[in-house]
Symmetry: C2
C-alpha cells in the first residue's frame, strides 16, 4: 500500500542546490515514487501540498526548518529511503576538495587574505549582511542572491563606491572576470570585447554569440537588474564603464540592460561618449537610436545584433567628434535649456533625443512620468514646452498663428540667469503666421543683447520647417533669424543633437572612487559563501576558492539575528 513519510528537521540549513540534488537522488531509490526536500517557505509548502507531500505538522514549520517528504509503494520503502538521507548528504559533502571548511567569512579571509572577491549566494534575507561584511574586509562582491531589498542594495553600493570596490548584483546571475565565469557563465574565448550587463542571460547570449563569431571577451561585469534604477543610479555600471575604459586589453565595450531609468541612462551614455572607445549599446525597451554621425556610441536593436556589431568594430578606429561642445559655455552659472515649441511632435522628438544627453529634463508633454513639469507656467532646469497643448490654446489661436504667448514666455526665459540656450521651432506653410520672423526675430535679438548687457552669453537656436514654395519665403525668414543672432537649423533632430552635445558636458558626473584595475587583471581568487556548486565550478575553471560552511546565524531565528546585527553595528 502506498505510503508517505515526512520528516522535519528544525533549524537545519543546506543550500537549495544540495537539497534539489538530494531530492533527485531519493527519487531514484527503489520503491520511491515522489520526494520533496525543501526549506519550509510558504511557496515550497504550497508546492509540497499540491503533491500530497505536506503534513499538518509540516504546514506549521517556518522557513528555517527542513521538510523531507517521501512517497513510495509501501511503508518499508519510504523508511529505507529516509534512512539514507544522512549518508547521501555526507557523500555530497565529501565531494569538496577543501580540507578545512571555515565557518565564517572572517575565518575564510584569514585563510585567503589575497582574495579579491566574495561570492554571496545565501538566501536573500541574509545576503546583504554577508555582502556588508565582505566590503568591511575590503573585498569586491559578487552578489548572486535575489530577494535583497532595494534599500540594502543602495547602501551596499554607496559604501562600495566610496571604497573603490565593486558590488555586482544583487540578483547578478552572470559575470566573467579574467576568464573565470561567476554564477552562470558560458565558456568563451578571451578577446578584445568587454561587457557590462544589468542583465544575466543578456550577457550570456551576447558573450556566447561573440564566441560563435570567432572573437572573444576580456571581462563581463554584471551589475544586477536594478542597478540602472533611479534609486541605485547605475553605480556599478558607471564603475564598470570606468574600469573597462582603463583596461588596455578591452578595445570595444558592450553595454546591455533590462528596462532602465531614463535619467540614469543619460548619465551612463554621457560617460560612454567620453570613453574614447567604441561602445555598443542595447538597452531593452529604451528608444535609444543611432542619430549622431562620427560617434563612438553604437545602438543595437537586439542582443544578437549587439554581438555582431561589437565584433565588427574591433580594430576600427574611434572618432569622438564633439567639436560643437568644445566651445566654452558662459562661466556665469548659465546651464539650462528652454525649448519653446509650437509643434507638439517637434517638441516630442527633441525630448526623445535630449533625454539621452540631459538627466534633468522636464516638459509639459513628458515621455516618462519623471519628466513631468509641475507647473507649465514655470520652467524647471532643462525644459521643453509644447505651447500648442490644450492648456495653452483654449480661446486663443494656435502658437503657429499667434506669437503672443511665445513672446511673453521668451522674455521670461531670456531674463533667467540660469538659462544658457533658447530653442524655438518656426513652422511655415499655409495656415501658419504670414511672417513669424517679423515678430520673433526682434524679440530674439533683444533677448541676446540684454543678456549680453548683464554679462551673459545667451545662445538662440531656431528650427525652421518649410519649403521654398511656402507663402512666407523660407530664405527671407531664415535670414531674419540669422541676422537676429540665432543659429538656424531646418531639422529638429539636428537642433536637438546640437543642444545635447553643447550642454551635456555641463552635467555633473556621479562621484565614484576608481576601482583598482587589479580586480580584473590578477588571477581570480575568491571566497564563496552560499551555493557549494559555485565553489566546485570555480575550481573547475582553475580559480583559487575558499568555500565557507555557512549556516543562517542564530539557527535562522529572526529575533536573535536582529539583536546580533544591532550588536555588530555598535
Amino acid at each position: 500500500m502506498a505510503a508517505t513519510k515526512i520528516e522535519i528537521r528544525r533549524g537545519t540549513y543546506y543550500d537549495s542546490i544540495t537539497l534539489m540534488q538530494l531530492q533527485a537522488e531519493l527519487m531514484q531509490l527503489p520503491g520511491i515514487s515522489n520526494a520533496g526536500v525543501m526549506l519550509a517557505t510558504d511557496a515550497n509548502k504550497e508546492l509540497l501540498k499540491e503533491q500530497g507531500l505536506l503534513s499538518a505538522e509540516a504546514q506549521e514549520c517556518s522557513g528555517s526548518d527542513l521538510i523531507i517528504s517521501i512517497q513510495g509503494d509501501n511503508k518499508a520503502a519510504t523508511e529505507t529511503a529516509l534512512g539514507k538521507v544522512d549518508t547521501l548528504l555526507s557523500r555530497r559533502r565529501s565531494h569538496d576538495e577543501q580540507d578545512y571548511l571555515p565557518k565564517s567569512l572572517e575565518a575564510a579571509v584569514k585563510m585567503l587574505p589575497e582574495a579579491q572577491w566574495v561570492l554571496v549566494s545565501v538566501p536573500g534575507n541574509y545576503a546583504a549582511s554577508v555582502a556588508k561584511e565582505g566590503l568591511r574586509h575590503g573585498k569586491n562582491i559578487f552578489l548572486y542572491s535575489d530577494n535583497v531589498s532595494l534599500e540594502d542594495e543602495v547602501a551596499l553600493k554607496k559604501d562600495a563606491s566610496k571604497k573603490g570596490l565593486l558590488v555586482m548584483g544583487p540578483d547578478c546571475g552572470t559575470a566573467i572576470i579574467n576568464e573565470v565565469g561567476l554564477g552562470f557563465a558560458n565558456k568563451v574565448r578571451r578577446g578584445p570585447i568587454g561587457l557590462i550587463g544589468a542583465s544575466g542571460t543578456g550577457l550570456q547570449q551576447v558573450t556566447a554569440r561573440i564566441h560563435q563569431l570567432g572573437s572573444g571577451i576580456t571581462h563581463a561585469i554584471g551589475t544586477g537588474g536594478r542597478d540602472l534604477s533611479t534609486s541605485v543610479g547605475g553605480i556599478t555600471a558607471l564603475q564598470a564603464l570606468d574600469l573597462l575604459r582603463r583596461d588596455s586589453e578591452t578595445q570595444v565595450m558592450v553595454l546591455i540592460s533590462k528596462p532602465a531609468d531614463s535619467k540614469v541612462v543619460s548619465r551612463l551614455l554621457q560617460r560612454a561618449r567620453e570613453a574614447g572607445k567604441h561602445v555598443v549599446i542595447n538597452l531593452l525597451g529604451h528608444p535609444a537610436m543611432q542619430l549622431e554621425k562620427n560617434t563612438n556610441l553604437h545602438f543595437a536593436s537586439s542582443l544578437d545584433a549587439a554581438a555582431e556589431l561589437a565584433v565588427k568594430l574591433v580594430n576600427t578606429p574611434t572618432t569622438s567628434a564633439r567639436e560643437t561642445a568644445a566651445r566654452e559655455m558662459s562661466p556665469s552659472g548659465q546651464k539650462y535649456l528652454r525649448g519653446l515649441f509650437s509643434g507638439g511632435t517637434l517638441a516630442y522628438e527633441t525630448l526623445l533625443i535630449l533625454q539621452d544627453y540631459l538627466p534633468n529634463l522636464y516638459s509639459n508633454i513628458p515621455l516618462k512620468k519623471e519628466q513631468a513639469l509641475a507647473n507649465p507656467l514655470v520652467s524647471h532646469k532643462h525644459t521643453i514646452l509644447d505651447l500648442g497643448e490644450d492648456e495653452f490654446t483654449v480661446g486663443r489661436p494656435h502658437p503657429m498663428l499667434d506669437n503672443t504667448l511665445r513672446l511673453q514666455r521668451l522674455a521670461k526665459e531670456a531674463s533667467d540667469p540660469e538659462v544658457a540656450i533658447i530653442l524655438l521651432d518656426v513652422v511655415l506653410g499655409y495656415g501658419a503666421h504670414p511672417d513669424p520672423a517679423s515678430e520673433l526675430a526682434p524679440a530674439l535679438s533683444n533677448a541676446i543683447s540684454s543678456a549680453q548687457k548683464n554679462g551673459r552669453n545667451l545662445e538662440v537656436i531656431v528650427t525652421v520647417v518649410g519649403t521654398d514654395e511656402d507663402p512666407q519665403d523660407l530664405k527671407a525668414q531664415i535670414k531674419k533669424f540669422k541676422t537676429a543672432g540665432a543659429r538656424v537649423e531646418t531639422s529638429s533632430r539636428e537642433a536637438a543633437l546640437y543642444v545635447g552635445q553643447r550642454l551635456q558636458s555641463q552635467e555633473k558626473a556621479t562621484e565614484l572612487t576608481a576601482v583598482d584595475l587589479k580586480v580584473l587583471q590578477q588571477p581570480l581568487q575568491a571566497i564563496n559563501v552560499g551555493l557549494a556548486s559555485f565553489s566546485e565550478s570555480l575550481r573547475q575553471q582553475g580559480a583559487t576558492v575558499i568555500h565557507v560552511d555557512w549556516r543562517p546565524p542564530a539557527g535562522g531565528n529572526e529575533k536573535l539575528i536582529s539583536i546580533l546585527e544591532r550588536m555588530k553595528k555598535s
Copy 2:
C-alpha cells in the same frame, strides 16, 4: 492721462484669428498702447488681468462673451479706437470672396452637395456636434478643433468607420489631400510618397524634407494625436493605411506618430506588413527596430531620417517575405503562445519583439502596464513568463538549475487546447544544469505527442544559448531537442521573429468599411465651419470651398444648447 476703456459684448462670437487680427489692428491706432480682444474664457481673463486690461464687470463674463479692452494715452484715444471696432470687423468680412454666407452646415451642403469634406475649427465644446452633423450628411471630416473629449472622438470615429468616412482629428493640425493643404501645411511637390501622421508638425517636418530632397507626396493624412490610443484603437490610421495601399500613385508610405499604445501599434504594423508597399515608420518613443530582413517595414529613428529613407525607397522593389507564416496553423482553435523562460533578459527581448506582432501579449515582467499578467500562475492569451523572477525562486534554485517548475508549467500549458506554440530558452554554461535536455526534451516530446493524440498540432521552439566549449556539449543538447521534435534557434531574436511571423496572421483585423478612393483622387471641395482664414487658404490653393457663417448655437447658452442637442437626437 493714460486711460483704459473696456467694452463687453455678450453672446458675441468671432473666431479666434479674427479677434487676434482685430487686436493687432487696434494696437496700431494713434495713441493706443495696448489692446486685448478676447472671448472671456478663464485663461483669457487671466491674461487680460496680468496686463491691467480686466474690469470687475469683465471678470464676471462667461466664455460666450467678448471683451474688448483698450489702453491709450488718454480717454479720447481709447474712445476713438473703440469706435472703429465695427468698421475694422466689417472690413475683414469684406475680404471674403463668397457672395452669400450660409448660416448653417445644412444650408452649405445644399449649396455644394459634391463637397467631400467638412472642415471643423469651431471652439472645442461645439466641435463634436458639428462633426457629427457632417458625418450625417455623408461628408469626411477634417477636425482641427482641440479640447474635444475622448468619448466624442471614439463615437465619431466608430460612426465614420461604419459609413466608410474619414475623421481626421480632433486636434488634427495638418493634412494634404490631392495637393491641397488643410490646416497648417507646407507647399510641397506632388510625388510618390503618401503619409499618415498622428502628429501635425511631424507631418510638416517630413513632407518639407521630402520636398527639399527633390521628391514629393501624394497625400498626407492626419489622424489627430489620440488616434493610436487604446480607446480609439487607431481607426483613422488603419483607414488611411488601407486608402494609401489602394492608391496606385502612392509607392512608398510613411507612418509617423506621437507616443502610442503598444497594442494599437502592433495592429497597425500587422496591416503595414501586409500592405505590399514599403512603409517607413517613425513612432516617437516606441522602441520599434529594424529586426526582420527582407521586409517592407523600415524603422526610422527621427523625422528627418524617415523622410530620407522614404525618398531612398522610391522605385526599389518590395520583398514581402513571409514564408514561415505560410505554413497553416492547426485549425482547432489553437492560437496562443506560451513562453516559459529561465532567462529574464531573453524573456524581455522576446516581449519587446513580439509586442510589434501580437496585441494580446501578457507577462509577469511586462514592459508596459497593459501587458501585466493578473496572476503569474495562470497564463492568459499570448504569455511570456520569466520563471527566474523572485516570485518563483524563493527557497528554490534558479530555473537554469532546477527544471521542476518549468516541467510542471510545461505540462499545464501543453494540455491547454488554445495553445499553438511553446517557446523555451535553455541556457548552458558553468553554474547551469549539467544536462538540461535530459529532463526537458522527453517532456517536450510527450507534450507534442499527447497534443497529437488530441488532434492538435503543438509547435515547440527552443532557444539554446551556449558555446562549443561549454561543459554540457552544445551539439548533443541541440540534437536531443531536435529529436524530441522541437525547432531549435540559438538566438532569442530569431526565435521571437519566427513566432511573431507565425502567429500574427491569426490576429483578427479591426473591421472597417473601406473609404472610397474618390476622397483622395477627386479635386478637393470642402465646407468650412470655423476659422475664416482656412477658407481663404483653401481658395488660395485653388480648391472649391463654402464658408459657413457659424455662431455658437443659442448664443452660447450651455443650457439651451444641451436641450437643442437632445431634441436633435430624438
